[in-house]
Symmetry: C2
Subunit: 191 residues, 2 copies
DNA sequence: TTGGCTTTAGTACCTGATACTAAAATCTAG
DNA sequence: CTAGATTTTAGTATCAGGTACTAAAGCCAA
């Protein structure tokens, strides 16, 4: 194997570690057919942390990401909220959320932002979506910032009617009408 | 600090590491006010791996989980598919997906299963949800197994009408009507 | 050939462990 | 109270996967 230049090797090193962060210096040195010291020097120059640190980063980032994706009270970031009236949330879309071919964000991410915001607006401990009528008006590309605005328009008993509009750069991409049902622990009215 | 019995300590050790998997033996020994060796013996008895292994586990598990949650083609497991006709997927719900107070699964997880299955049924490279009309008929508790059945009922140009029903133990908990729009790369009809 | 960049080599040291031996401390039953 | 068992502490050797540092080659080009 002929060895390519330092620049080429370092570029490939960055990419390789990006893809497979669990490789030791020793394994890397074999892949590039250079000594361990060379790999260490490269990492030093490129600011790539050691294996254990990389593993720790993967662990912590994904841990955090998982919390905010599956466990979060609300999908996106809540930037304004008037309980019982309206609310605004912002979601930064990423490549992960999109079809790799077209880079178009999967619909359920948009829905999730809308529904969770709608729930946040309701002035009650726990709400549950009963019905929703939604329309995606225009595809969203990964990287675009979704701004969701929710408004409580009507309350009938335990049913709460919430409208949500999502825009990207002022352009509307989604609208949804949700009927949220508040679950009464007591089984009756309060106050 | 008075030291409790071995059994109590070991029980608490298991719980602590479950909650905070990033603690070294040394930190653990301080928390329990025993020597490092005691912690090591405890870990050995309890089959708890060392810190680095634990970190690696967290990294790998969450990495995998993230892929299957945010990056997955389909939410849940596809168990049957007749392209252009119908399909079935199964989603095992977990506590993560639910409100901690009530243990009721957040609606968007159910929606995501339905929508992604609906898309899978369409016989096209990329589909995009245009409209959907959905209803949650009954709350789903964490741990319940959701069985989704999707059926393509009509095609009109690029619009595909898909109905999805989700059941738990034969009982219907969700129904949704989706209009999926197939994106034409060519901009025209094919064949 | 000389200077400069790149690569290799080697040593000392670090952390967070394992594996093992031995002794001290504590508890418990007779 | 005391012997025996259990539990805990202590210490040493070893390991992986590094850091930090020094020194020496190897190579390329003017």
């Amino acid at each position: 194997m002929k060895r390519p230049s330092k620049k080429v090797r370092q570029k490939e090193l960055v990419e390789l570690i990006e893809e497979q962060p669990f490789l030791t210096d020793e394994e890397l040195s074999k892949k590039f057919n250079v000594s361990i010291q060379t790999i260490r020097l490269d990492r030093l120059e490129l600011g790539i942390p050691e294996l254990r640190q990389r593993i720790k980063n993967v662990a912590k980032n994904n841990y955090k990401k998982l919390r905010t994706i599956v466990g979060a009270e609300i999908i996106g970031e809540l930037v304004d909220l008037n309980l019982g009236k309206n609310g605004i949330s912002i979601l930064e879309t990423t490549k992960d959320m999109a079809f790799s071919k077209t880079n178009i964000v999967r619909g359920h991410h948009i829905f999730s932002q809308a529904e969770s915001l709608a729930m946040a607006v309701i002035d009650a401990e726990v709400a549950l979506t009963g019905v929703s009528n939604i329309k995606y008006l225009s595809p969203v590309k990964a990287g675009e910032k979704l701004v969701a605005k929710a408004e409580l328009v009507r309350v009938r008993g335990n049913d709460h009617f919430v409208h949500v509009r999502i825009t990207v750069d002022q352009k509307q991409v989604f609208r949804g009408k949700f009927i949220l049902v508040v679950i009464d622990g007591d089984g009756g009215m309060e106050s």
